[in-house]
């Protein structure tokens, strides 16, 4: 089911004017820095806050007049928000009892899928952070929503646990065919998850579209930290231990060679052609390379550009260390 919205809301000096459409068959990432209005937008979508004007539609049906419990939208919060007076099983059953009868999944099977079967009869108050997040996901899946919103559900996790959680989200999306929108301000998380991108900046949608294309848009790149500037590349095109749909290749992590490199330690060598060279500052140039796997950005010095003879239309090779992925 496609989720689309065109709404306006004024909160003091902050103005939210969001118009977007997220397809029903993938994972949309709602991307934006903190303060861009992501959480406000989510609470309007879920029905906890009323927009001044505009409309929200899910699969062609207007949600505007419906209270939160009748919108068919699931929402996973940053904090798991498990009910402390109920056990893990009772938390999940809470969702099950209220789900449409014909769509109710089997609780035991869902618990196995999320690797919490052994915890089913424990109180939720002494679960680890990762377990709490997985129980929250299981509960949201069992509610069988038409569309699932996730508000930075991995905010509390780091490193390996975060990557594992992203894998769980991808598996969950595939297994339950649940259209989802995930909020994040982390470019690596966005690249790993997104098929679709909605970029929010100061309450406005700055860019949107299929992730590989929309992430190249200038409005999006301009929002990133200088060190995060880069391009998305399908994970399959690169040798990497990472899971996910695509990888974020930072311009700082890409080396360029003017001749085909041999016997190098870099695990990924991509041949391509220089499309443009952008003068970022006096000390740095962004070289955009077209490769068969997609565009690649490399940040180099003006001296390197001169010495390698890099120019639009010339052949070049991009080298990426596996560690950078």
């Amino acid at each position: 089911m496609t989720l689309s919205a065109d709404l306006q809301l004024e909160l003091g000096s902050f103005r939210l004017a969001a118009k977007f459409s997220a397809p029903g068959d993938g994972i949309a990432v709602l991307f934006g820095p903190s303060g861009s209005g992501k959480s406000t937008l989510l609470s309007v979508l879920a029905g906890f806050r009323r927009a001044d004007s505009g409309t929200i539609r899910l699969g062609g049906q207007s949600l505007d007049a419906l209270p939160p419990h009748r919108r068919g939208l699931g929402l996973v919060f940053q904090d798991a928000r498990l009910f402390p007076h109920l056990s893990v099983r009772q938390n999940i059953a809470y969702a099950w009892k209220r789900a449409p009868e014909q769509k109710r999944p089997d609780i035991e099977a869902v618990a196995r899928f999320f690797d919490i079967a052994a915890q089913l009869d424990r109180p939720v108050t002494n679960l680890s952070g990762g377990e709490k997040s997985r129980v929250a996901l299981a509960r949201a899946v069992v509610a069988a929503p038409d569309y699932l919103l996730l508000d930075e559900p991995f905010a509390a996790l780091d490193g390996a646990r975060r990557r594992a959680f992203i894998q769980v989200l991808l598996d969950m999306h595939r297994n339950y065919r649940l259209p989802m929108m995930v909020v994040t301000h982390d470019i690596d998380d966005a690249a790993a998850l997104a098929t679709h991108l909605v970029v929010l900046k100061c309450g406005q949608v700055a860019a949107q579209g299929a992730f590989l294309e929309a992430s190249r848009v200038q409005e999006f790149q301009a929002m990133l930290d200088s060190s995060d500037i880069g391009t998305a590349m399908p994970a399959a095109a690169l040798r990497s231990s990472h899971h996910g749909r695509s990888l974020w290749l930072r311009a700082d992590h890409v080396l360029l060679a003017a001749e085909e490199p041999r016997a190098v330690s870099a695990r990924n060598v991509l041949a391509g052609m220089v499309r443009t060279i952008i003068a970022e500052s006096e000390q740095s140039r962004l070289v955009e390379l077209d490769t068969p796997a997609g565009a690649v950005l490399a940040r180099v010095t003006p001296d390197a550009v001169r010495e390698l003879g890099l120019a639009a239309g010339n052949k070049a090779w991009a080298l990426v260390k596996a560690h950078a992925l």
């Binding site: 879920a46 029905g47 419990h69 929402l75 928000r81 498990l82 402390p84 007076h85 209220r98 509610a143």
Partner: protein, 227 residues
């Protein structure tokens, strides 16, 4: 050992306080929940609920007589429609006690509702729980320790209610004579101090047991909620 009169007084006190708390619990929960939310007229309702705490208890009893007495608007209606007469009866003592302990109950329960994590209601809403569903399945169980503690405190206080009860329900042995009323009666008799002291010790012990019991119960339930 307790004398027959003492047992009768204790039993009256227990019965009156028990029914007073039991009957005022549902409206107290409703009012407390309302007061834990934002709405217009909240200050007025809050003031009305707490009136019995501020007014002299005798005045509360007098107001009850005006309302529920034979010629009072509610009293006349009750007597004509249902043949129920409250003033100077056991039921009247229960009503007076309920009115006096109502603010205590509301205060304790309201604090419990306010302490419950409101974010959990949003979590329940996106799991398709309606507002009433959320109240019954999330708000009420989470407030249970506070509700129980409030009820026990109100019960202990109800056993000692004096002014409103003696004004509205009088001091009838076996009917409306609760512990404090009995103490008052024996103190009026010459040489009744020893008997008064015995009753006072009983009253004190019961009140302390109630307060300590409420505290222990609340702690135990909170521990269960927090793991």
């Amino acid at each position: 050992m307790l004398t027959a009169v003492e047992i009768q007084v204790l039993s009256t006190s227990f019965t009156v306080a028990f029914w007073a708390v039991l009957l005022s619990l549902p409206p107290a929960i409703a009012v407390a929940f309302l007061l834990s939310r934002r709405f217009s007229g909240k200050l007025a309702l809050d003031g009305l609920v707490h009136l019995p705490v501020i007014l002299p208890p005798v005045l509360t009893g007098f107001l009850l007589l005006l309302l529920f007495g034979r010629r009072g608007p509610i009293g006349a209606f009750l007597e004509q429609s249902f043949g129920v007469y409250l003033a100077f009866t056991r039921q009247g003592a229960i009503l007076a006690t309920a009115v006096m302990t109502f603010p205590l109950l509301v205060r304790a329960i309201r604090i419990a509702f306010e302490a419950a994590d409101a974010r959990l209601f949003a979590a329940a809403a996106v799991l398709r729980a309606s507002p009433m569903d959320r109240f019954l399945t999330i708000a009420l169980p989470l407030a249970a320790p506070g509700i129980l503690a409030g009820a026990v405190t109100a019960f202990a206080a109800g056993m000692g209610e004096f002014g409103a009860v003696i004004t509205f329900a009088a001091n009838i042995p076996g009917q409306t004579q609760t512990l404090p009323l009995a103490i008052y009666s024996v103190m009026q008799q010459p040489g009744g101090e020893a008997q008064a002291l015995r009753l006072a010790v009983m009253s004190f012990t019961l009140a302390m047991a109630g307060l300590v019991g409420a505290e222990l119960l609340q702690r135990r339930m909170l521990r269960r909620l927090k793991g």
